[in-house]
């Protein structure tokens, strides 16, 4: 081993879960090192400059006035996000605005549902939200079909859960869906960061550095080290050298399976490894980014119903023109397969998403030029686990934690879920340290 380093908490990966934990711990006086394998920060909440566009690496819109902004306020990080109006829905070829109150009712009416039918569904939803949560093992689709047989109503729910929870109505448990509505209120407010999503990662990284922490990019982790089932640090490669970093606490943002692989020799619990294989199901999504001369429609975010795989279209440049060169617009189309478990064929998914775009927007092909086509699956998925199938944030190795979208709290999704894992683990580490040191 060429070199040695040490710190109080070693964080593997500069995704938003890792950076959230790093910012909180650095501010609390812990000496933190964040090891990021890529040259840029943020992981799937980052920005790629391409042909003058701020292309996304995953996150497009950011929830505002919620968990994410709360964390930024708490650590004193700048939260530069420009709020956007509510999403619109594309139903039967018509763009429908969603009123701030009674949105679901309005959408069902737009889908052509009768007043009685809407009333029946709304009563069931009210009961599930305010009285008794429905059984956990029933898919949302089956639960809804008790109250409506209208396929267009089903398509509204499908578009929402596919775009936001990365799962289909026939796969998501009704319990998880209502927990999501309660916890995140369906993500009511969101916006875009004018500097690109990477500016959020940089803002948290600045807090880390300002409080004495270090962020090492182009630093690949080779192995997580432990002895007697207690974590001891990690070995990494940086600037062509191998380095041993000693740390009494290691927080991994690499995804639970990769964490287990890196800590392989330390994890003796075969049942944990089996649970990783059986429980965790990665969310597979496709994101196509296009250059446009003018917007395709008059909204920054459209949830699309009735398509094969396309579920949402973003036009962030309607809110943040900074994301494109002067006079141009960026369009991001998101899709997910209708079956989350069958084999994923990236090329086919891209073709399906393109076919949906052409079917939904007449003249799409002549107006949009493809910049980037990304598929997120396998070891680099949309989320490491579908909602409701997350792993525990603690691993079998003492003081080795996971953060990120494979260990989200129940009912959480996307960026708020990821940030919540960072907060949870940082608070656990701070709390345990106070017990050990006797600090108040």
């Amino acid at each position: 081993m060429d070199h040695r380093a040490h710190c109080d908490v070693l964080i593997l990966g500069s995704g938003m879960g890792g950076l959230a934990a790093a910012a909180l711990l650095a501010r609390d006086g812990f000496r933190v090192i964040v090891a990021e394998k890529m040259p840029r920060l943020g992981g799937r909440c980052s920005t790629m400059d391409y042909n003058g566009f701020k292309c996304i690496t995953g996150v497009v819109g950011v929830e505002t006035r919620g968990v994410v902004q709360g964390l930024f306020d708490r650590v004193g990080a700048g939260f530069d996000v420009k709020e956007a109006g509510p999403p619109h829905y594309l139903i039967n070829g018509q763009i429908c605005q969603v009123p701030s109150r009674g949105g679901m009712k309005h959408l069902m009416m737009a889908a052509g549902a009768g007043a009685m039918e809407v009333e029946t569904v709304m009563n069931a939803i009210t009961g599930a939200l305010q009285w008794r949560a429905p059984s956990s093992d029933v898919p949302l689709g089956d639960w809804l079909r008790q109250y409506t047989s209208n396929p267009r109503i089903m398509e509204i729910f499908q578009a929402l859960v596919s775009a936001v929870l990365f799962v289909n109505v026939n796969e998501l448990s009704v319990h998880t869906y209502f927990e999501f509505l309660k916890k995140l209120k369906g993500i009511q407010r969101f916006g875009y960061a004018p500097g690109g999503s990477i500016s959020l990662a940089r803002s948290l990284a600045k807090v880390v550095v300002d409080h004495g922490g270090e962020i090492w990019t182009r630093c690949r982790v080779n192995a997580i080290k432990s002895r007697n089932n207690i974590v001891r640090g990690a070995t990494v490669s940086r600037r062509g050298k191998n380095l041993s970093i000693k740390a009494p606490v290691v927080i991994s943002n690499a995804g639970p399976k990769e964490t287990a692989r890196l800590a392989e020799t330390g994890i003796r619990d075969q049942y944990y490894l089996r649970e990783l294989e059986q429980r965790m199901t990665p969310a597979r999504i496709t994101a196509l980014q296009f250059s446009m001369d003018e917007p395709l429609f008059e909204s920054n975010h459209l949830l699309v119903t009735g398509t094969q795989s396309l579920n949402s279209v973003y036009q962030p440049t309607m809110v943040c023109p900074e994301w494109a060169p002067d006079g141009a617009h960026l369009l991001v189309a998101g899709s997910a397969p209708r079956n989350s478990l069958e084999p994923f064929d990236g090329k086919r998914e891209i073709e399906q998403c393109l076919a949906d775009l052409r079917a939904v927007f007449p003249g799409f092909e002549s107006r949009a030029r493809l910049l980037l086509a990304g598929t997120f699956q396998g070891a680099w998925p949309g989320m490491h686990s579908l909602p409701g199938r997350d792993m525990d944030r603690k691993t079998p190795v003492i003081n080795l934690y996971n953060v990120g979208d494979g260990v989200k709290p129940f009912g959480y999704t996307g960026l708020p879920g990821v940030v919540a894992t960072g907060i949870d683990v940082a608070e656990e580490v701070m709390g345990r340290n106070r017990i050990l040191t006797g600090a108040p």
């Binding site: 394998k37 890529m38 040259p39 840029r40 992981g43 790629m48 400059d49 391409y50 292309c55 690496t57 182009r218 064929d345 990236g346 090329k347 086919r348 998914e349 891209i350 980037l372 086509a373 990304g374 598929t375 997120f376 699956q377 396998g378 070891a379 680099w380 998925p381």
Partner: protein, 65 residues
């Protein structure tokens, strides 16, 4: 020498596409290297989240993997 893609590891995220100074990479579900354009500067290797890019002579498999 050129950069090669390990198709068993590549997830199709296309992170490598914008970072290539010679526009040698395209991706539609799987990264592909244009061997006439790749000058093996290896910049893309650091941007691959799943270590699917490597240096090699063979178009199919990275050297030594």
């Amino acid at each position: 020498m050129m950069v090669v893609v390990n198709p068993l590891k590549c997830t199709g995220c296309a992170f490598c596409v914008p970072v290539c100074p010679n526009r040698a990479i395209s991706s539609l579900g799987l990264a592909e290297i244009d061997k006439d354009r790749c000058v093996a500067c290896l910049e893309c290797l650091d941007f691959c989240p799943v270590t699917a890019l490597g240096r090699g002579k063979n178009r199919k498999e990275p050297h030594g993997s």
